[in-house]
Every structure is written in structure tokens, then in C-alpha cells.
């Protein structure tokens, strides 16, 4: 009882106790009170407005074949879509679901292999000298250049796409994780070994948490490039998926579906990045709080 009173006093003298939930609510309310959401809204309005005017009102020369705003949104939310695809058709969700599944496989595989590899590359100088030059030669090869090889090596239509998606993510994750380990101040590992930690404990208690901010920066990049290479892969190979949807709609001259596919990619891409960010903030609360205080 006495203790709680003491702690509360101390906490209020420091400002309110920071909890993750409280922090989120606080941020949401300040965000709504700031001009930021309205500026964001204006930003969207300008682009959509220009699209509408350019295609449907002014009928600008280069825009004549492009589907208009009302046509696309009319089709997207049509219970009986002209081209057979809208939020009311199961096919739409099949495309999203299959793309998401490929992203999930590729991203998890890239994280599962890339993070440990990056940690060891940063941790062991010998290992780095052995692997890193090879890694640096493979990394700049554009994902599109891997497409033919991926199709030759992997059977079927699914695995080449997952492989291509994986590859881009893997390089981003590994490199950032390695940089994360290198960024850790040596005094942390020295302090730990001074306090009696074994080499393995230093790795677990210092190297992994210390590299975490960079790892999550890497995962942010990784999920972004994953969508990029997924669409590239789906345009070449595969039976479903958003990239496939965009490409076949072009071939079949069903232009509104191209735009539906693009906007959908934007939304799911944003949502997946946000999920990675939220997970990172959850795992690195020491950092969130630090930033919250500095706010």
C-alpha cells in the first residue's frame, strides 16, 4: 500500500505513467487535433480530383483510354460487376488471399533465414569475410533478372513467384541485421562480459536486442520490396494474385480491373507494413517510450 502510493507519486511527478495503450490513444487524439489528418485528406482529394477531371470532364488527350474515377469505383463496389470483379465477388478475395499467402511464405522465410544470417555476419568476422563478398555480388542483381532462372529451377507456377519474392526480402533483411549488429556500441558487450556473461549470453542479451531497431528497419524495407517482386513474379508466372490480375486485365482489355488491382495492392501493402511497424514497436517498447518522451 505504502509502496504503491510512493510509486504513484513518483510517476505523476514524472508525468503520467506511459503504457502502450495509453500512448496509442494519446497519439490518436493529438493526431486528430492536429492539421495532419486534414492535410492528408486534401492530398487524396487533389489526386483523385485530378484523375476525375482529367479523364471524365476535360478528357485530356493522353487520358482517353484510361478508366475514369467513377467507372473504377462503380465497378469496384458493384454487386453485379460488368467485368466480373468487385468487392462482392469471391474471385477478388482469392486474388488478395493468394498474393498475401505468397508474401507470408516469402517474408517469413526471408526473416527466418535473413535475421540469423545477418546476426552471424555481424557477430563473426571470419564468417563475414567468408560470406559477405559473395552476398554483395548477388545483392545488386535486380529481381527481374532472376525471373528466367527461377522459372527454370522451380517447378510449377507457385514456387518461382515465392522464390523471387523471398529473394528481395532476404537481401534487405540480412543486410540491415548485419548493420544493426555493427552499430552496437562495444561498451555494451564489454559491460556484459565484465558482469560475467558468456559469449553466448552476450549474443542473446546484447547483440539481438541491440540490433533490433535495425532489424525492424530491414523488415520494413523487406516487406516493401516483397510486394514489388511479388507483382513482378505474378506478371510472369502464376494463376492468381494481384499482379496476375493486373496483367491479365491488360491483356483482356478490362481496364477498370487494372486500377482496382493497383489500389488494392496499395491498401494491402500499406496494411502489411503497418503490421510490421506495430510488431516492432511492441517488441521495442524501450525505444517507443524513449521517442514518446522526446516528443
Amino acid at each position: 500500500m505504502h509502496d504503491t502510493v510512493l510509486n504513484t507519486d513518483a510517476a505523476t511527478s514524472q508525468g503520467p505513467e506511459v503504457t502502450t495503450m495509453g500512448l496509442t490513444m494519446y497519439r490518436l487524439s493529438t493526431w486528430l487535433k492536429s492539421p495532419r489528418p486534414y492535410l492528408m485528406f486534401i492530398g487524396f482529394a487533389i489526386v483523385l480530383g485530378f484523375w476525375y477531371l482529367a479523364v471524365e470532364v476535360w478528357k485530356l488527350p493522353r487520358f482517353e483510354d484510361m478508366p475514369g474515377l467513377t467507372e473504377v469505383f462503380g465497378e469496384w463496389f458493384n454487386k453485379d460487376p460488368i467485368y466480373g470483379l468487385s468487392v462482392y465477388t469471391p474471385e477478388y478475395y482469392t486474388h488478395i488471399g493468394i498474393s498475401l499467402r505468397r508474401i507470408a511464405y516469402a517474408f517469413l522465410l526471408a526473416t527466418g533465414l535473413g535475421v540469423p544470417l545477418g546476426l552471424f555476419l555481424g557477430w563473426s568476422k571470419t564468417f563475414r569475410e567468408f560470406i559477405f563478398p559473395l552476398f554483395e555480388v548477388l545483392r545488386p542483381i535486380p529481381i527481374l533478372a532472376w525471373v528466367p532462372l527461377a522459372i527454370i529451377i522451380f517447378a510449377g507456377s507457385e514456387s518461382p513467384v515465392v522464390f523471387l519474392t523471398f529473394l528481395a526480402s532476404f537481401f534487405a533483411t540480412t543486410l540491415n541485421t548485419m548493420l544493426g549488429v555493427e552499430s552496437i556500441d562495444e561498451s555494451y558487450s564489454r559491460a556484459a562480459s565484465c558482469l560475467g556473461a558468456s559469449r553466448w549470453q552476450v549474443f542473446r542479451h546484447v547483440v539481438i536486442p541491440g540490433a533490433m531497431p535495425y532489424i525492424f528497419t530491414g523488415l520494413q524495407i523487406s516487406i516493401g520490396v516483397a510486394w514489388f517482386s511479388l507483382v513482378a513474379g505474378e506478371m510472369v508466372s502464376g494463376q492468381f494474385g494481384l499482379g496476375y490480375l493486373i496483367n491479365t486485365s491488360y491483356m483482356m482489355v478490362e481496364y477498370p480491373k487494372i486500377i482496382i488491382g493497383m489500389i488494392t495492392l496499395g491498401i494491402v501493402g500499406f496494411a502489411s507494413s503497418a503490421m510490421v511497424r506495430v510488431l516492432g514497436d511492441y517488441l521495442m517498447q524501450w525505444r517507443v517510450r524513449e521517442l514518446a518522451l522526446g516528443d
Binding site: Q14, C194, L195, A197, S198, H205, P209, G210, R287, R289
Partner: protein, 295 residues
Amino acid sequence: MNTYSPDTVVPGAGARVQEASEIVASNLNKTYGAGPFAKTVIKDCSFTIESNKLTVMIGPSGCGKSTLIQLIAGFESADSGQLTMNGEPIVGPGKDRLVLFQESALFPWMTTYDNIMYGPRARGEGLKEAAEQAEFLLAKVGLEAFRDKYPTQLSGGMQRRAELARAMINKPEVMILDEPFRGLDNMSKELMWEYYATLYEEDRNTNFFVTTDIDEAIFLADRLLIMTNLPTSTRTVIDIDIPRPRKIEDLVHNPRANEIKKEVMTLLHEEAMKSFSGGSKAAADFLDAYSKRAG
């Protein structure tokens, strides 16, 4: 070697006087680089860190004091010469010699409490007793209310206190402090001197404190080692016979303190001049003229 025994950890037992633990350095040499890039940092350096005394080492900045700490802590080894603790050669880091680094080496991803408990937890030793001792130390350094805060939520002075507690919980035979109060503002610095001196006077363990601040050195030291300019060796040893507990005012009013300060300033000035004239005659002339004006 390892004299730690969980049974001896009793809350409030910080006042026990430890068995003699003495560090002797004789004719140490350390050179970095090789061939034309070789730079001798420590040359023929001998000194003793007497047991149950606070030995302060002062020298011109960049004179290799930190290198000496790396050697004593066991992070690096000397090229030649002898470095022993209680007669045994120092071969690697150990919890009998704990280092407080220049910059805070508290783990940013752990709370104050977890940082303090890190040593006992890493070694898996006497956890129950350590937990009690952690409470005792949190109270002692005045951080009970901040036990669940992360280091970046603490002020500079609090971080240094947390770090003192993290070291003290391990009951090191020798505490090594490398300019621990550097970067604190003058007010916090003086408070930390008084605070640290009180902690030292309570248990009189062997302490080795490195600094470039003359006032800090005179306020804290039992024995003062004055080092030469690069390559480092011991210039003089002065016994600071000002009675404890000392007050900050002593630095101004105590005639003995002033006498020592003049002596130390003269010696350090000579050494600093060497480092200047080593690089540039003009700079040395400037410093000489400046110090005459100031004196």
C-alpha cells in the same frame, strides 16, 4: 580466482571491509599498429593500486589512460610487462574487476531493475539474495521510483547511479571507473562526487578512478597517480591527506588542497606542453603565453 560466494550477500552488508585486493603493474608496454604505423601508447609504466584505497589516475587527455583500463579490465593484453591482481596475472575480464565506462553502458533495452540484476542473472548466482540486494541498492542510490524505467528515461546523474548499483551488486573486489562523470553538468558532477565519496567511505573497497579533472581528483583520491604524456608512464604519486569526509568547499578553502592543486597543475601543465610541442611549436607558445596571462 573467483571469490564470490552467494552466502556472503546480505542486504545492508555493503559495509563489510574486503580482504586485501591489490593490483600491481610493472613495466607495462603497449603499442598499437605495426611497422611505420606503430604507435607506442604505454611505455615502461609501473604503478600500484593499493587495496582498500581510492586511487585516482590523472593525466593529459589522450594519454593512454583508457588503454590502461582496457588492460586492467582484461579486454586487451599488454605487449610486455607484468599486470597482477593479488599476485595472480590478469588474463581476461572478470567480475572481480568491474568497469564503469565513460559513456553510460546501461543496456537501453532493460529497465533499471533488470540492468542492476543483470550480473547475478547472467551468472545464475544467488538470485534470491541478489533480488534483496537489488532492492537495498535501489534505495541506496535513490532510484526506487525508477526501477521500471528505461535508461533513456533517466537523467545523466541517475544513469550513473544506476550503473554504480549495477556494479556494486556484484561486490567486485576492485571497481574501475573511467571518467564516469564526464559529460554531466557541473552541479550534477559535484553531487556525484559527494555521493560517490560517501559510497566509498562506507565500505572502503579498492577503487580505481580515472579522470582529467583536477578538482575531481583531489576531492576523491587517497592516492593520486599523475601520468606523463604519450607514451604513458607514471610521473608522480601524491598522497592526498585531506581528512574524510571532505566537502566541496575544501577545494577552495583547505590550504592543503590548494597546495596539492598547484603542484598537480604544474605537473600536468608540463605534460600537456609536451603534447603540444610534439605537434606544433606555435601551439606550445600560445599555450605558454596563455597560461602566463591566466596565472
